[in-house]
Amino acid sequence: MIGPRRRALLGWTAGAAMIAASAALVAVTPGPNVDPAPFVVTVAQGERGVGRNIDVTVVDVRRTQEISVPSYTKWSATGNWLVVDLKAAAVVTQSGASLSGAQFLIDGKTYTASNRPDTLFTLLQNSLVPGVPRAGAIVFELPGSLTSGTGELAFSVSSDVRADSQIRVPIDLAEVPTTDSVELPRVGWSR
């Protein structure tokens, strides 16, 4: 049998322990904007970035005033274009795996990849095959004044980047080589 003093002491100790445990729980609980954040994998240009179901390598980055496609449509567009050549594959499954999330993050702003080129000439929305990379370009149409600063290319298998892998590649816009025009390659297997 526990004496009344020890009993009281036990009660106070248990109470204090519970308050401490609740405080610890509050402290470790993620805030409302923390849990949906993407799982970011940052790699350099030319390095392979592998996430849950995305495997991306940025091969080349160029800036140009004009992009065109090599087809009978003779489609071309002028602007402040950022052209990214990349290889992309899935890791575990092809169902629902397409390169749907392609963003350029700079100065707190997010630019999504342009869907203006025909789908034959942009990897955007292309289906990703586990273990067998596809190669092609992704283009970003940037404001004319945006020619310098450090930003990040960000790729994911869904345009909803929450709670899934996102491969990020930092680039310095001022360091990116500039050419007069770029003919976009046709999307195909990486050779």
Partner: protein, 194 residues
Amino acid sequence: MTAPEAPPPASTVEAGRIRERPSRERRAGTLLSLGALVLLIPGVLLATGLTPWTEDRPEPVVAGASGTAEVGDATWGPVKAVILEDTTGLDVPSGSKLIAVKVPVAPHDPAAHPVHCQSPRLVEQRTGRTWEEATLDIGVPYSATEPVRCNPDEPNAALIVAFVVPSGSTGPYWVDVPLTVGDSTPFPRFSVMP
């Protein structure tokens, strides 16, 4: 010889307060409730945890020794899967291999119950890696007589699909034929070793 021990008193006096000893029935009740909690808490966790995995999840019907599976209104299989060594004229990258799969479909009553299905999928049994058919990606145009998914106009045509997998990938594989999208009805599954 010592005197026999006195039976324990029904109550003890402690610092001026009388503390009742819990009765036998009450102790049995406490044990019963604790035991119930021990069973119920993991049970609830298990049930709530399993629900999202079991609800509306289509179950595979694995083909038996005959190589065929009876699913929906059709007989599926037996399935043939081969690695195509000669890929002349096909767009297949180095470091990969091409697996061609033929799935015969025999609807029981195509006029009354046309069979609908999506393109077969290839699943590496060891890892669960899943590929979709790649007929267009290797440069083969769509053919009505060798369709990649069930074609109600050609009810008895076998599905012919091709998969591009990395050369390091090894069998055995599952060939799954998903039926209509978002459906929880079972689908036929075949084990193949191309």
